[in-house]
């Protein structure tokens, strides 16, 4: 989980952002804020969706240059669905993360985007993978990313426990996003959360005024 200080040096539209993915008992929750900005001075979108569905039970969220991220996820989506048709079965989350990693690693000089891939597959159940800026791939029980993540390392370390219930996990993810959005000026807007389980995919959107409030607000 490297600190994303590159965000402030990205020219063009960037997703100075807060993204996270957390596994719980039976599934995984992936979440993000919804702000896109240019250099931290202008909010170019208040309601952007950073949670991209790359397959039925696999999502990824993006941090860094929006253009790079869109280009990479478009290519990855194609490769994953092709792979899935060839294999005649839903793709593994690890396979999807691997595809993103290959793209990031082989083009590391030009690209400035990092990803979190999360999903559910039959082989290993719920999983979370991080693909960092240079193309490193890492599997973790939970992970946070983007510029806003620096402010919630302490909170996440203290509050995460393995095998949470769906409700506990939702509360953890919502609180973490709200705290990061409260301190990071390039994260904000609404909180997008997607709950992925064997049964299906559920998208939860929490508008800014319904986010949890803390002692000084």
């Amino acid at each position: 989980m490297e600190i994303d200080f590159m965000d402030s040096q990205i020219k063009g539209v960037s997703t100075g952002t807060t993204i996270l993915a957390v596994t719980f008992n039976g599934g995984v929750i992936i979440g993000s804020d919804s702000r896109a900005s240019i250099g931290g001075y202008y909010v170019s979108s208040k309601t952007i969706n950073k949670l991209i569905q790359v397959h039925d039970r696999i999502f990824c969220c993006i941090a860094g240059s929006l253009a790079d991220a869109q280009a990479v996820t478009k290519a990855a989506k194609f490769q994953i669905s092709f792979h899935s048709i060839q294999m005649e079965s839903p793709p593994l989350v690890k396979a999807a993360a691997s595809v993103l990693k290959e793209l990031c690693y082989n083009n590391k000089e030009e690209l400035q985007a990092g990803f979190i891939t999360a999903g559910w597959d039959r082989k290993k159940g719920p999983q979370v993978y991080t693909v960092a800026l240079g193309g490193m791939l890492l599997s973790q029980p939970f992970t946070i990313g983007g510029s806003g993540s620096t402010y919630i390392y302490g909170y996440a370390d203290a509050k995460y426990k393995p095998d949470m219930s769906r409700e506990e996990c939702l509360q953890f993810a919502t609180n973490a996003l709200a705290l990061a959005m409260g301190r990071d000026n390039v994260s904000g807007g609404v909180a997008h959360l997607v709950v992925i389980t064997e049964e299906g995919v559920e998208h939860v959107v929490i508008p800014g005024d319904k986010l949890p409030k803390f002692h000084d607000e």
Partner: protein, 232 residues
Amino acid sequence: MAAVYMSANRSENAFSTVDLVPEWAQEEVSTGTTIMAVEFDGGVVIGADSRTTTGAYIANRVTDKLTPIHDRIFCCRSGSAADTQAVADIVTYQLGFHSIELDEPPLVQTAANLFKQTCYRYREELMAGIIVAGWDKRRGGQVYTVPMGGMIVRQPVSVGGSGSSYIYGFMDSNYKPGMTKEECLHFCTQALALAMERDGSSGGVARLAAITEEGLERRVVLGNQLPKFSNA
């Protein structure tokens, strides 16, 4: 399969940061430290890690960053060790003199404003982020933060130094007004432990102090006694 990717157009940008903001404001300043202070009814609790670094070498792994300025007023130092020691010495002298003239214990607000005056006047030369905390008869426990640049603001709870970025979320969610002294000590210990685990420039032992009307109580929490949060 070879594919060509268009990287984002980086050369033209109407909002390029180079013209709008001076060079010095764009640089990352690392003040290898974690410091914090919390008000409670009847006093304050202050805390800091104990690492001083010169580059990658830990020059002192048992530093005391909680410096007394007067009997019931302390400051937590972050930034350049030389700069903060020099400023603290200056303020200790000024405050001591003022207290003798007044024939009364000085106010925390006075101490904080003295820090601000020096830090603001010499803002270009100094690299000092200071938290001033203490107890006085007029307003009880108070925490004032004087970050780099020389602003002053009173806050019920404040964190500083490079390690502080990682615990803003923890601080916002765990601080509640109306905590007791023991709760504040526990809160500070946890926050420092979390920051020390994530920040490479913070570490060693956690030093804490509780300042009340009665006096001063100092505590040290050794490395192996710190709360653990690893979930690997």
